[in-house]
Symmetry: C2
Subunit: 134 residues, 2 copies
């Protein structure tokens, strides 16, 4: 059974990515691996860890409800989220990676985040980029 | 019937994008709009135009063969390919845009092309980015 890997953060763009990844998993009959990655270190304290776990528990509950084979991985090992995402995709021989992008702001020019660029460049499988709903 | 818009250039990354767009159109039961865009101007002379037409004729013949409803648009109106692609996607209310990316070279750091970045940022629908085969 093939795999879709999705980068998840508890933000509108992360939720949009997860929603779309579920749709794609259903359409393509693939299983889902949700990757939530933190660099860790000083800025990531106990409260952050607890908050992050609560959010991931919600994700798990949601995925249990939709009946798609899935796995949730939380990685805190000092890597950039892009590195972790591409690594996991390679490990599971992902057929597709789904990432969320922030919407371009009405004012000012937005450039593509370095994590998104890195995933797009480094992934060996196709990458589906979705935006948060307006 | 929904629409997939694909950016086509007669290069490995353009061919990979077209191939994938055909697969997606089949999977999602959507029609396909192929956009081939040139800025035009002095650098785009009569020979270029003829060569470009021959290549697009090949694309049309290929698409006729696979039995997917399609349309091929060649745009030479002074715009960047990204602008044309996003414009057409908006006009046809595309459900998906497919673009091709060059592979990261083994040496040196490659940054994401400005056209790809622009499509990813400006498109209001999801963007599927595929790489040329190795």
């Amino acid at each position: 059974m093939g795999t879709i890997v999705v980068g998840y953060v508890p933000k509108p763009e992360g939720k949009a990515a997860l929603r779309r990844a579920v749709e794609e998993a259903r359409l393509r009959k693939l299983r889902l691996v949700v990757v939530n990655s933190h660099r860790g270190g000083r800025e990531f304290d106990r409260d952050d860890a607890l908050e992050s776990e609560t959010q991931l528990d919600e994700v798990k509950a949601e995925l249990d409800g939709v009946g798609i084979e899935h796995e949730v991985r939380q990685l805190v090992r000092g890597f950039d989220p892009a590195e972790d995402l591409v690594d996991v995709a390679k490990e599971v021989s992902a057929e597709l990676i789904v990432i969320g992008l922030r919407r371009r702001s009405p004012v000012g020019k937005l450039i593509l985040g370095s994590n998104a660029q890195r995933v797009l460049l480094d992934a060996s499988c196709p990458v589906l980029a979705v935006k948060a709903e307006e």
